[in-house]
Amino acid sequence: MNLTALTIGQARERLRRKDFTARELAEAYIKAMEAARPLNVYLVETPDRALAAAAQSDARLQKGSALPLDGVPVAVKDLFCTDGIETTAGSKILGGFVPPYESTITANLWRNGALMLGKVNLDEFAMGSATITSARGPTENPWRRKGDNRPLVPGGSSGGSASAVAARAALAATGTDTGGSIRQPASFCGIVGLKPTYGRCSRWGIVAFASSLDQAGPMTRDVRDAAIMLHAMAGHDPKDSTSAPLPVPDFEQAVGQSIKGLRIGIPKEYRLDGMPKEIETLWQRGIDWIKSAGATTVDISLKMTKYALATYYIIAPAEASSNLARYDGVRFGLRVPGETLDAMYENTRGQGFGAEVRRRVLIGTYVLSAGYYDAYYLKAQKVRTLIARDFNEAFKSCDAILTPTAPSAAFAVGEKMDDPIAMYLNDVFTVPVNLAGLPGISVPAGLSQDGLPLGLQVIGKAFDEETVLRVAGVLEDAAKFGALPAFVAGTA
């Protein structure tokens, strides 16, 4: 039996039927994790911890008192602080940093029986769309173009998470999404990635990138798994003032429900000039699926869309420039000494941060500076309000919105890398959702002409992940995406 081929939903049933043990499942994934080393996915492997947790899961499964995620091996994006295990955010500046605390999200997962396989790679401080800015080197996408063995990027910043799940080196993974960092890599790797509503999941213990945009979410093999994972991760956390004091619905129950009668918005502004034909085609196919499932489509307008990227690239760096000020060499992480305090700062931060992080800290510092604040940061905040208003207006006439997840399939390592703007364009469909704080999901919906996965995005109203999951479930059923990447851990 190929244990790593199962979804969480399937594994859950069979663990309870005692077809195999949590230990056996964990061992299969530990092997897969080792086999996936060429992809540079895991930064830290924690097999002993996984096995110890599996033993506890087995004890509960034996007693018939299993927890919702008992025995589920999870890869953790290295942005989540994990108690006693090095957490670097993919940055040299946090090299050797071992948090004495556990993030709320991962603590919730472990409390629900999940076990940690290890920490996975990401763009440094989650800044990037290709998992190439990590101090620990790029992560590879397990997919290859037809007839082309050049390595491809897994997307980013949660590229390690996406790659691990796609390559079956983890049953599920945690990701974080500030401008598309869950959905875009999910699209590039042919998996499901769910960014919940801002405030649905606690940010406590997650290394901050842009606090008003950051949101954790699950990355999984299918939509049901995303619902199962989100249920375990979500919930009000008094330690995060921006976490919503709302009950957590039974997300899984929404998966598989009919969308008959739902109104799905199709935003005309998402038809970009120069967008590849295959993206256009994929989107149309999604619209057809939705219609044949009994929903209606509504043309909507999100007028401010064209300003979203510019707005995002002011607000996110502004917050980042402040959030990253704490990496100063004084209390933890890297310290490069200097003659004076200022010299120590310059040496530490100059050598500790990579080029992309330095670029964004500079942009952020600039847009907050006296004389520029009104023209950049304040204006961006106003546009952000207008973008949110666009969505609110649109949701008066529809229940969810369907768009492509990204304007292209995965690209090769080296492509788009000399031009930061081209790289930023990856997030053109995902960024507005973060600016408005809404939930969004990417579902694998087909293959490009090159044989690479492409995702469709469903956007929902705030705190209406259930409708998002309902629609995503229908797309998933219609798409019957069964393709496997070139590299599947343990089968090579």
């Binding site: 948090p99 901050a208 606090s211 907050l368 006296a370």
Partner: protein, 489 residues
């Protein structure tokens, strides 16, 4: 009081505004649960939030907000039901996050005022611009190691209220009076210990000078002055310095200065220390602070009687003078003990509140001060009310009250026991007094003759002699009366 300073070219008006940083009384910090005890071992009161570890988030301490709102209400200020926490960004080793969480454009408390007592018995209102909440930084210790700086984060994250005055103050004395009044209000409210020596009240002074009625001059800010006396000295020095600069044809440069208390001068900080662009922006980790109007009303209703109201009541109900009432209400405890004392004594004998007030203000304060106690502590520990009763009953004289209180303080006896033991009872036996008078007059026949010849000033001399002979125990009124009779012949 004249508010003008005389320079070579004429008179100058000094314009002063104060920014006071008051440490909020709270067991926990503004955004973390760490303790705030003064004088704890370095780095023992630090949470991961205070040390700005990755992924840590601030959670606003509701009690600190309550304290700030109370302070606002105590300063008769607008309470903003919506306010915002901003980040003030700068790098320093004792600022762990690289930013201080403060309130910039939307503070929790808006315009208010403080009434200063003017010597003529009236008051003068000094405007309060705003009060906002912010975090304190840690401490850099430069004297622990020849080449290294140590950092103590115990203070990092402790809640401060920044209380900003309008530029309404005109003299160093007024600035001192403002600080003392502010301190008094904060202590009444229980929102700040207001101890400048412990650093829980710190003051930045904005000073400029102008020709009377002219437009505002360029101001200098004197940072972090840590006693009322130094604030007054710093302002006095700075005003004279600016006048001199202008009168010598120069211009005042807007800058931040430090007060050197050893030399009594202000000096400019190096420009590098002040050239900050703080890049304020709303802290995305915190939601805007929204207050419930009903909650604010409940807080308002729960406020204690504040110094101004108490002073008015003392003047109205006890018929005290403005200066008596001001002196009593400056410290809440003193006012409380005065009221208790007056009540207890008045139950036994007839006593005017003014007598009790003067006893507390003049006699008790002096004796308590000599013993390092507050008047309230002295009154609680010693039989002041017994002594006052003895005085009112004419058992001891007014001038013996001080001696009795001092004796009581040393012996911890009741006033009555002390007076009995020392035989200090006033002599009211006319026979004994007459005998003493006769003895003195018999000893001084020449002076008696002079008196009778019209030199009436000699009466005081005879009284003195008689009091001396009776060891001060003779009732002065009786002595006077009997003496006059005898001299009249």
């Amino acid at each position: 009081m004249t508010a003008l300073i005389k320079g070579r070219t004429g008179e100058w008006e000094v314009v002063i505004g104060l920014e006071v940083h008051a440490q909020v009384i709270s067991n926990a910090k503004l955004f973390s649960g760490a303790a705030t005890d003064f004088g704890a071992e370095p780095n023992t009161q630090v949470s991961f939030v205070d040390a700005a570890f990755p992924g840590m988030l601030p959670v606003l301490n509701r009690f600190c907000v309550e304290q700030a709102v109370k302070t606002g209400l105590g300063l008769d200020a607008e309470i903003h039901l919506q306010s915002v926490f901003d980040r003030k960004n700068y790098f320093y080793a004792d600022l762990p996050a690289g930013y201080q969480i403060s309130q910039f454009s939307r503070p929790v408390v808006g315009k208010g005022s403080i009434a200063l007592d003017v010597p003529d018995g009236t008051t003068r209102a000094i405007g309060i611009t705003r009060v906002h909440l912010e975090q304190d930084a840690g401490k850099s210790l430069h004297d622990q190691h020849p080449s290294k700086t140590y950092v103590d984060l115990n203070r990092a994250g402790v809640a401060l209220m920044e209380i900003v005055s309008e530029p309404d103050l005109r003299t160093a004395e007024e600035a001192g009076a403002y600080l003392r009044k502010l301190r008094s209000i904060l202590r009444y409210l229980g929102t700040c210990d207001a101890n400048m020596e412990e650093g829980n009240l710190r003051c930045d002074c904005n000073v400029s000078v102008r020709k009377p009625g002219g437009k505002l001059g360029t101001r200098c800010e004197i940072k972090n002055v840590n006693s009322v006396r130094f604030v007054m000295q710093a302002i006095e020095y700075e005003a004279r310095r600016q006048i001199e600069v202008i009168e010598e044809g120069g211009a005042v440069v807007q800058e931040t200065r430090l007060f050197d208390s050893g030399k009594g001068v202000t000096r400019a900080m190096r420009t590098k220390e002040e050239s900050h662009d703080y890049r304020y922006f709303p802290d995305p980790d915190l939601l805007p602070l929204t207050l419930d109007a009903a909650w604010v009303e409940r807080l308002k209703a729960s406020l204690p009687e504040l110094p101004d109201a108490k002073k008015a009541r003392f003047m109205r109900d006890y018929k005290l003078s403005a200066s008596q009432a001001s002196a009593l209400v400056a410290e809440q405890e003193t006012a409380d003990e005065f009221e208790k004392l007056q009540g207890r004594v008045a139950k036994v004998v007839l006593i005017s509140p003014s007598t009790t007030a003067n006893t507390v203000i003049n006699v008790v304060s002096f004796i308590a001060g000599e013993r390092g106690m507050t008047p309230a502590q002295f009154i609680r520990m010693n039989d002041v009310h017994g002594a006052l009763i003895l005085q009112q009953k004419n058992v001891i004289s007014g001038r013996m009250l001080k001696e009795v209180l001092e004796g009581v303080a040393e012996s911890t006896k009741s006033a009555e026991a002390f007076v009995d033991e020392k035989g200090l009872k006033q002599v009211t036996d006319t026979g004994a007094i007459e005998a003493a008078i006769d003895a003195v007059l018999a000893k001084e026949p020449a002076k008696v003759a002079e008196y009778r010849a019209g030199k009436e000033k000699l009466l005081a001399f005879f009284v003195g002699q008689i009091m001396k002979a009776t060891q001060g125990k003779a009732n002065p009124a009786l002595v006077n009366e009997l003496l006059k009779k005898k001299l009249a012949g």
